[in-house]
C-alpha cells in the first residue's frame, strides 16, 4: 500500500522537479526558498504526502516535495544538506550523527507518528496474552493448536496481510524474526494471505481458530486484541495510543522526521503543524498511532 | 370389417376455450388404411394426438366424448399412457430420427420396455427395417447415426422404430410431405402391405395421396368431420358440397 503510494507519488515528483528546475536558485539553497524538500522512508511517504497536500491549504505559498527511497537515503540527503527534512522509520544512527556534525549540521529528531500493530484473536478465544516468542512460533508454524498455548483444542488459523504490505514485512522482521537480522525464518506456508486489513478483521471476528495482526487503526470491537509481552517475564500490554506512546507495547515503532537544528522558519512551522490536531487526524486516518502534542517534540 | 378404434362425440378444446374438434364420431376400421384429409387446421392432427394421448403435453383438453380401443376408453385418466403409445404408434411429418445410430433408433422403444437380449434386438431390427423397406439400404451401416440417412430413409427409419414395438395401430401424420416422389411411392406401397397385419391411420399431404391410398376416408373441415365413407364413394360421389369442392380443387 505504502510502496504503491510511493510509486504513484514518483510521477508527481517528476512534475514538481520540472517546476523546480524552472525556478533557478531553489535547488542550490533550500533554506532560502519557499520549497521544503522532504525525503526518506517508504513507510512514511504516504503520510508525508497526505500532510504535504493538506498543508497546501494551510499555507499555499509553501510547496513541499516528498520522495521515498528509504530511511537511509533520506538521512544521507539531510547530512549532505540537499533536503530539509528526512523521513525515517528508525532512529538516526550514531555514525550518521557524526557524519552530519562533520558537515556542520545538527540533526534534530521529531517523532511525528507511531505505528502500532495489534495482534488479534476471536472474542471467544480464551487466550488473552502472548509473548513475542509465542507469536513468532505460531506464525512460523511451530505451534499449530491453541491448546499448546493453554487455550482450547482448536487448530490455529494464521492470517496475514499480503507480502506487498509494509506491515507484513515489519511483522516478518520484528515479530517472526524477533528483530534478529540474521534470522531467516519466514511465515509458515499455510498462512492465509488476505488482500485487505478488513478481510483479516472479518475472518478473525467470525472464526474462533484465527489469529491475525493489523494496524491499530483497523481494529474493531468484533475482535479481541491480545496483550503482548516482549519476553515472557515482562508485562503483557494491550496496544493503545497510550501504551504505544509510552513505549510499553512491543510491536510498535516511532516514525520520525529529522531536520537540521538551524532549519528555516518555514520548516519549523511545518514540523509544528504536523503535531497539530488537524495533522494528527490524518495520522489516524491512515491507520497510524497519533502522538499527543504535549509528549511530542522532545 | 371390424372397428379398431371408435371415436364417439369427441370435442376437444384449447385452454383458451377455442374448439379444436367439434363432436367428431368416426370408426377406424381394422386392417385398412383409414385416411383423414382436409385443409390444414381441420383438426386431423389433433385427433391423431388424442388417440395416443400426446395431447396430454399440449394445452388441449377433452371437453366431451370418448375414444374406445379394445373396449376401453383411452381418454380415461387411469389409462396407462406408455402402454397405449406402444400399442398406437405414431409417425410425424418431419422425419426426426433420434440422435442415435440407425440400430439404436430402431430399438429405442424396445430398450425402454427393458428388452436386453441381443438376439431378440438383432432379430427385431432386421424384421422392422425389412417391413419398412429400408433393410437393403442400411444393413451395412446400422451403426451410422440415424440422422446420416437421406430424408426418405430417415422417414422409413422412423416407421421402422414404431413397427419394432409391434403396435396394433400406426398413425402417420403427413409422413411424405417432406419427401421426394420415389420415397413417397415406397412408403405408400409399404402401407399397402402393412395393413395385412395392423390398422393404419394416415393423414395424407394432398388429395391425390388420399385418393391413392384410402380404404376409408374422412373429410375434416374446421374441426368437424364433414363426411366419412369408403374410398370410392367419397372421392367419386361425395354427398356433401364442401367435400366435392375440396376434392375437385375448388378450395384447399
Amino acid at each position: 500500500m505504502r510502496i504503491a503510494a510511493a510509486r504513484r507519488w514518483l510521477v508527481g515528483l517528476l512534475l514538481l522537479l520540472t517546476a523546480c528546475s524552472a525556478t533557478p536558485g531553489d535547488s542550490t539553497s533550500p533554506s532560502a526558498s519557499t520549497y521544503i524538500q522532504n525525503k526518506g522512508s517508504d513507510t512514511i511517504v504516504n503520510l508525508a504526502l497526505a500532510w504535504a497536500e493538506a498543508y497546501q491549504k494551510v499555507k499555499p505559498e509553501v510547496r513541499i516535495s516528498v520522495t521515498g527511497g528509504g530511511s537511509g537515503t533520506g538521512l544521507t540527503a539531510l547530512i549532505s544538506g540537499t533536503v530539509d527534512i528526512a523521513n525515517a522509520s528508525r532512529k538516526i544512527k550514531t555514525e550518521e550523527i557524526k557524519a552530519a556534525e562533520a558537515n556542520g549540521i545538527e540533526p534534530v529528531e521529531h517523532v511525528i507518528a507511531r505505528d502500532a500493530i495489534a495482534v488479534i484473536v476471536n472474542p471467544q478465544n480464551p487466550i488473552g496474552e502472548l509473548s513475542l516468542e509465542q507469536i513468532s512460533r505460531i506464525y512460523r508454524g511451530e505451534v499449530t493448536n491453541w491448546s499448546e498455548l493453554g487455550g482450547e483444542d482448536r487448530p490455529i488459523v494464521r492470517l496475514s496481510r499480503e507480502t506487498n504490505s509494509g506491515t507484513h514485512v515489519y511483522f516478518l522482521e520484528e515479530v517472526i524474526r524477533l528483530g534478529d537480522k540474521d534470522n531467516k525464518e519466514i511465515f509458515s506456508a499455510d498462512t492465509l494471505l488476505l488482500p485487505s486489513s478488513e478481510g483479516i478483521i472479518s475472518e478473525v471476528s467470525e472464526n474462533p481458530n484465527a489469529i491475525g495482526y493489523d494496524g491499530l487503526g483497523y481494529v474493531t470491537d468484533h475482535v479481541k486484541m491480545v496483550a503482548v509481552a516482549r519476553t515472557a517475564d515482562q508485562p503483557y500490554v494491550l496496544p493503545s495510543v497510550e501504551s504505544v506512546n509510552s513505549g510499553q507495547y512491543p510491536i510498535s515503532r516511532d516514525l520520525y522526521m529529522y531536520a537540521r537544528g538551524d532549519a528555516p522558519q518555514i520548516v519549523l512551522d511545518y514540523l509544528a503543524w504536523i503535531l497539530s490536531p488537524a495533522a494528527q487526524q490524518i495520522v489516524t486516518d491512515l491507520g497510524f498511532v497519533p502522538i499527543l502534542s504535549t509528549t511530542a517534540g522532545k | 370389417m371390424s372397428v379398431k378404434i371408435s371415436v364417439q362425440n369427441l370435442t376437444l378444446m384449447y385452454s383458451d376455450g377455442v374448439e379444436s374438434l367439434h363432436d367428431v364420431s368416426i370408426d377406424i376400421i381394422a386392417n385398412a388404411v383409414n385416411v383423414l384429409f382436409g385443409p390444414s387446421g381441420g383438426g386431423k392432427s389433433t385427433l391423431l394426438r388424442a388417440l395416443n394421448r400426446l395431447n396430454d403435453l399440449a394445452d388441449v383438453e377433452t371437453a366431451r366424448g370418448q375414444v374406445i380401443l379394445n373396449g376401453q376408453n383411452i381418454l380415461d385418466p387411469a389409462t396407462d399412457v406408455i402402454e397405449l403409445r406402444r400399442k398406437v404408434g405414431m409417425v410425424f411429418s418431419r422425419p426426426a430420427p433420434l440422435p442415435l445410430s440407425v440400430y439404436e433408433n430402431v430399438i429405442y422403444g424396445l430398450r425402454l420396455m427393458g428388452e436386453r437380449s441381443k438376439t431378440v434386438l438383432d432379430e427385431r431390427v432386421e424384421h422392422s427395417l425389412r417391413q419398412a423397406v429400408l433393410w437393403d439400404e442400411v444393413y451395412d451401416r446400422l451403426n451410422d447415426p440415424g440422422t446420416s440417412l437421406s430424408g426418405g430413409q430417415q422417414q422409413r427409419l422412423c416407421i421402422a422404430r414404431v413397427l419394432a414395438l409391434e403396435p396394433e395401430v400406426i398413425m402417420l401424420d403427413e409422413p411424405t410431405s417432406a419427401l421426394d416422389p420415389v420415397s413417397t411411392a415406397k412408403i405408400e406401397g409399404m402401407l399397402n402391405e402393412l395393413k395385412e397385419r395392423l390398422t393404419i391411420i394416415l393423414v395424407p399431404h394432398n388429395v391425390q395421396q388420399a385418393a391413392r391410398t384410402a380404404d376409408y376416408a374422412g373429410f375434416f373441415l374446421q374441426g368437424r368431420l364433414v363426411e366419412y365413407a369408403p374410398e370410392k364413394g367419397l372421392f367419386l360421389k361425395p354427398r356433401e358440397k364442401e367435400t366435392q369442392d375440396y376434392v375437385t380443387g375448388r378450395f384447399g
Binding site: 504503491a4 499480503e162 492465509l192 481458530n209 484465527a210 | 400426446l54 422425419p95
Partner: protein, 296 residues
C-alpha cells in the same frame, strides 16, 4: 461505381478490425513472453518449479499456485456443470411457464452481479457457513472459492444451455414420447444428448468466466500458497495464479526477478487456457462436422 467503392471501403474496415484483433492478441502474447521469459534466466528452473512461494525472500516456486488454480477451477466445474445444466433442463423441459418467467430474468441478473459483491457474500456468509457446517479450521478455502466460481459460472451455463435445449427439434421429444418414453427418459436419453454441442459451448463459456475471475477468488480462498497433498486440500486454503498476479503485480519493481516471475505465471496461465480452449473447440468442431454431415 459508387457502390463498388463504398463496398471496398466497408470490406477494408471489416478487414482491419479483424486483423487488429489478431494483432492485439499477438502483441499481448509478445509482451507476455518478453517480460515472462527472463524469469527462466533469473530463477533456476528447479526453484521456479519449487514448492514454496514467498517472493519477498526469493522463493519463487509456482507449483502451489498452479495446483491452487487447478483445484479451484475443477471444483468450480464440478459444482457449476451439474447445477447449471440441471437448472437449464428444469427451465426448458419441466418448469411451468410462470416459474420460467420469474426464474429466467433472475438468473440473468445474477450473471451481471459484480464478482466483488459475490466475494463479499462469500466472506460474510459462505465462508463462515462452510467452516461450521463442514467443521473446517477456516472457511477461507479452495472449496469456498470453487463454490463461488461455480455460482459465477452457473448463470452463463444456464442461459446458454437453455437456449441449446430449446433449439432441439420438438420432433425428437415427440418421437421419443410416441415410442413410449416417459418424461425423464425423453430428457436424459434424447433432449440432452441432442443438445450436447450447445451444452459444451455453455460449459466452456462458463469455465471461461470462472477462470478469468480473480477478485472473488482472492477474497475467499485464503491465498495460502500450500502445495496440495491430497484431495483434502480442496477444504484447505489455496492460492491461485490469478490472485497472485493481481495482488503482487501492482507493487513489484519493474524488471525485477519477481516482476519477471509474475509474467511467467501469466504465460503459464495463458498456456493452460489456450489448451482448454483448443480442446473445447476441437470437441465442438467434431460435433459440428457430424451435424453438417447429417444435414447434407
Amino acid at each position: 461505381m459508387e457502390t463498388a467503392k463504398s463496398e471496398r471501403w466497408i470490406t477494408w474496415i471489416v478487414k482491419i478490425s479483424g486483423y487488429s484483433s489478431i494483432l492485439f492478441v499477438s502483441l499481448i502474447l509478445f509482451f507476455l513472453v518478453r517480460e515472462g521469459l527472463p524469469a527462466l534466466g533469473d530463477v533456476p528452473l528447479k526453484d521456479l518449479f519449487g514448492v514454496r512461494w514467498y517472493p519477498i525472500e526469493g522463493y519463487f516456486g509456482i507449483w502451489p499456485l498452479i495446483f491452487g488454480s487447478v483445484l479451484v477451477t475443477v471444483g468450480a466445474l464440478l459444482i457449476g456443470i451439474p447445477f447449471g445444466i440441471g437448472t437449464a433442463v428444469y427451465l426448458s423441459e419441466l418448469a411451468p411457464a410462470w416459474i420460467k418467467n420469474v426464474l429466467k430474468p433472475i438468473i440473468e441478473i445474477l450473471a451481471g452481479l459484480p464478482s466483488v459483491v459475490l466475494g463479499f457474500l462469500g466472506i460474510q456468509l459462505a465462508a463462515p457457513f462452510f467452516r461450521q457446517f463442514l467443521n473446517l479450521p477456516t472457511g477461507l478455502t479452495a472449496f469456498t472459492g470453487a463454490v463461488l466460481l461455480g455460482f459465477i459460472a452457473i448463470p452463463t451455463i444456464v442461459s446458454i444451455s437453455e437456449d441449446a435445449l430449446n433449439t432441439v427439434p420438438s420432433g425428437y421429444r415427440q418421437g421419443a414420447l410416441a415410442l413410449g418414453a416417459n418424461h425423464w427418459q425423453t430428457i436424459w436419453g434424447v433432449t440432452v444428448p441432442a443438445a450436447r454441442s450447445g451444452l459444451l459451448t455453455a460449459v466452456m463459456l462458463g469455465v471461461g468466466r470462472a477462470i478469468g475471475e480473480t477478485m472473488a477468488v482472492m477474497m475467499v480462498t485464503g491465498n495460502a500458497p500450500v502445495l496440495p497433498r491430497s484431495l483434502n486440500a480442496l477444504f484447505l486454503p489455496a492460492r491461485t495464479m490469478t490472485a497472485t498476479i493481481a495482488s503482487e503485480m501492482g507493487e513489484v519493481a519493474t524488471g525485477s526477478e519477481h516482476y519477471h516471475v509474475l509474467f511467467f505465471i501469466g504465460m503459464v496461465l495463458f498456456g493452460i487456457s489456450l489448451a482448454v480452449n483448443l480442446t473445447a473447440s476441437s470437441l465442438a468442431l467434431r460435433s459440428r462436422k457430424r451435424a453438417e454431415r447429417l444435414l447434407s
